[in-house]
C-alpha cells in the first residue's frame, strides 16, 4: 500500500463525497402548508415567497430560491451549462460571454507578466553581476517586494487614468519583484568557474550573457518566475473586481451584484481552471530551460 493504488480513483471518490455532501447540505424541504391559514398563504404569495401551482397547492417560488441560502451543485451546474453555451456571445457592452472574459483576463495577465519578466530579468542580471550595485539597491527591493500589488492600484489609476492599463500594471507590480530578486541571486551565485572559462575564451559581452550567464542562472530565474506567476495570478482577479474591467474577476463581482450565487461559484471555478491551465503551460516551458548539475 501507499505507493500502490490509483490516485485518480481516490480523487473521483473525494469529489463524489464533496458533491453529495454539498447537495444534501443545500437541499431544502418542500413547502409545507399545514397549519397555515389562507391569509398567511396569500401573504406569502403576495411577497413572492411561494407560488400557487396548477392543482391549487403552494410551492416555494423557484425564482426567489435562487437568492436564498447557498445554491446546490445542480444549480451551479445548470448555470455553468448556460454560461458555457453562450461562451462567445456578446449581449451588450458589459455582458460578454465567458470565453471572452477568460480571453481578456489571460491577455491582461500575459501582458503584465511578460513585461515584468523582461524588466526583472534584465535588471536582475545587472544587479547580479555588480555586487556593489546589488547591495545598494537590495534594501529598496526588500521594501517594495512585500507590498501587496493592489495597494498600488489607487496610485496607478490616478497616474495612468485608464483602468485597462492599471489592471495590467497591477499584474506587473505583482510579478516584478520575485523575479528580480531571484534573478539577481541566481546570477550572483553562478559558479565562478563558468565565468572564468568565459573570460579565458574571451567571449564577447553578449555571448557571455546568452551562452553562460542566462543559461547558467536559468534554474533560479525560472523559480523566481514561478513565484511571480503565482502572485500575478492572485492579483489579476481582485484587480478586475475593483476596476470593473471585463474579465473573470469581474464576472465573479457582477454575479454578486446580481445576487446570483450560482454565478459567483461558477466564476470561482473558472478562475481555478484558468489558473491550472496557465500553470501547467508555464511548467512545460520551464522544463526546457532548466538543467541538472
Amino acid at each position: 500500500m501507499g505507493t500502490q493504488g490509483k490516485p485518480w480513483l481516490i480523487s473521483v471518490f473525494l469529489l463524489a463525497i464533496f458533491l453529495i455532501g454539498w447537495h444534501l447540505f443545500t437541499l431544502r424541504a418542500s413547502f409545507d402548508q399545514k397549519g397555515m391559514s389562507e391569509e398567511q398563504l396569500q401573504l406569502l404569495e403576495f411577497n413572492g415567497d411561494v407560488i400557487r401551482t396548477a392543482d391549487g397547492r403552494y410551492e416555494w417560488n423557484p425564482e426567489k430560491e435562487k437568492v436564498k441560502g447557498v445554491p446546490g451543485p445542480l444549480a451551479v451546474f445548470e448555470k455553468a451549462r448556460e454560461e458555457l453555451g453562450e461562451a462567445f456571445v456578446k449581449k451588450g457592452t458589459n455582458d460578454h460571454g465567458i470565453g471572452y472574459l477568460v480571453l481578456y483576463t489571460v491577455s491582461r495577465f500575459a501582458a503584465g507578466f511578460l513585461a515584468a519578466s523582461v524588466v526583472a530579468v534584465a535588471l536582475g542580471v545587472l544587479l547580479g553581476l555588480n555586487k556593489v550595485l546589488f547591495r545598494a539597491v537590495n534594501p529598496y527591493i526588500q521594501i517594495l517586494k512585500p507590498i501587496s500589488p493592489l495597494a498600488w492600484m489607487p496610485l496607478l489609476l490616478y497616474t495612468v487614468k485608464d483602468p485597462k492599463w492599471t489592471a495590467m500594471l497591477v499584474v506587473f507590480m505583482a510579478s516584478v519583484w520575485p523575479t528580480l530578486a531571484t534573478t539577481a541571486f541566481g546570477v550572483s551565485s553562478l559558479r565562478r568557474e563558468y565565468l572564468q572559462v568565459a573570460a579565458i575564451l574571451q567571449l564577447s559581452w553578449w555571448k557571455r550573457l546568452f551562452t553562460v550567464i542566462l543559461p547558467g542562472a536559468a534554474p533560479t530565474i525560472v523559480n523566481g518566475l514561478r513565484i511571480s506567476f503565482g502572485s500575478a495570478l492572485v492579483a489579476v482577479v481582485p484587480a478586475e473586481m475593483l476596476l470593473g474591467e471585463l474579465g473573470v474577476g469581474y464576472l465573479s463581482w457582477i454575479e454578486w451584484n446580481n445576487l446570483d450565487i450560482s454565478g459567483v461559484i461558477f466564476a470561482i471555478l473558472v478562475v481555478g481552471v484558468v489558473g491550472v491551465i496557465l500553470d501547467s503551460g508555464f511548467n512545460k516551458l520551464a522544463g526546457f530551460v532548466t538543467y541538472q548539475e
Partner: protein, 290 residues
Amino acid sequence: MAFLQIDHMTKFFPSHSGGGPVCIFKDVTIKIEKGEFVTTIGHSGCGKSTLLNIIAGLESATEGGVILNGREAAGPGLDRMVVFQSFALMPWMTVFDNIAIAVRSAYPDWTKEQVTTHVHKYIALVGLKDAETKRPMALSGGMKQRVGLARAFAIEPKVLLLDEPFAQIDALTRGVIQEELIQMWNTSRNTVFMVTHDVDEAILLSDRILLMTNGPGARIAENVIVTIPRPRARVTIIEHPHYYKIRNHIIHFLVEHATHEEEGAEVSNNGSAKREPSIVNFEKDSLVRQ
C-alpha cells in the same frame, strides 16, 4: 628569457579576521622553457592554486608579473587555458558544445565544418565519441575531465594550466587519464604548468617539480629535476632507480621541511642566493642542495 616567466611575484590577501593583509607567497620567480612540463607541489593553502590563477589572469598579483613569450600577460586569454579541478563544464551544454564554444572562440574565422571536424578530432582523442551529445550530468568524473582536457587541448594554447586536474577522480580512472594526458601532450608539446599534491602524478608527468613551502609567505624552496627518461608509463616508471629517490625526497620535504624550513635554510645560505630555490638532480649524484 624563458618562454613563461613568473617574475618576483608576491600576493597579499585581505585578512578574514581583520588586521593587516596576509602574505600568501613572496617573491616567487619561476622560469619555464617552451614545451616544458613543470609541476608545483605544496600543502593545501600554500597558494599554489592562487599562483596558477594569476598566471591564467583570473586573479591579479600584488607585486610582480607574468611574462609569456617576451610579453606581459595580464588578464585571461586564449593563450593560457586552464583545466579546472571542478571540470568547469557548462552543464546546460552537450559535450560537443562545451568544446565547440572554445574552438569557435579560438578560431573565429573558421567555418562550421572546420569547427566540427576539429571538435570531433579531440573528442575522438579522449575516447568520448559515444558521449558527444550527452550533457556533463550524464558523465562520470573521469569522463568530465576528459572533456575538460579535450577543450583545453582543442584551442591549442601556448600554455596549459592544470589546477589539480585529477583530484576529484577515483584512483583507478586517474591513472588511465594521466596516461592519456601524456599521449596528448606528446603530440602537442604545449608548455604546461600544473599544480597538484599527488607526488606520483607529478613524477609521472613532469620534467621538473617545484616544491613550495607552507604559507603564509610561501616560497619555492626546491627545484627537483625528474631524471627519468620519457616515454614514461605508470607500470614501468617505478622500476627506474631514481623513482623512489625522487618520491622519497619530495615526501620527506613535504613532511619535514615544508613548515619550518624557512629560517633554517635561509641562515645556511649566503645572503645573495637567499630566494633562489636549490636544485635537486639525482643524475648528478651529489646533491646541489645547500
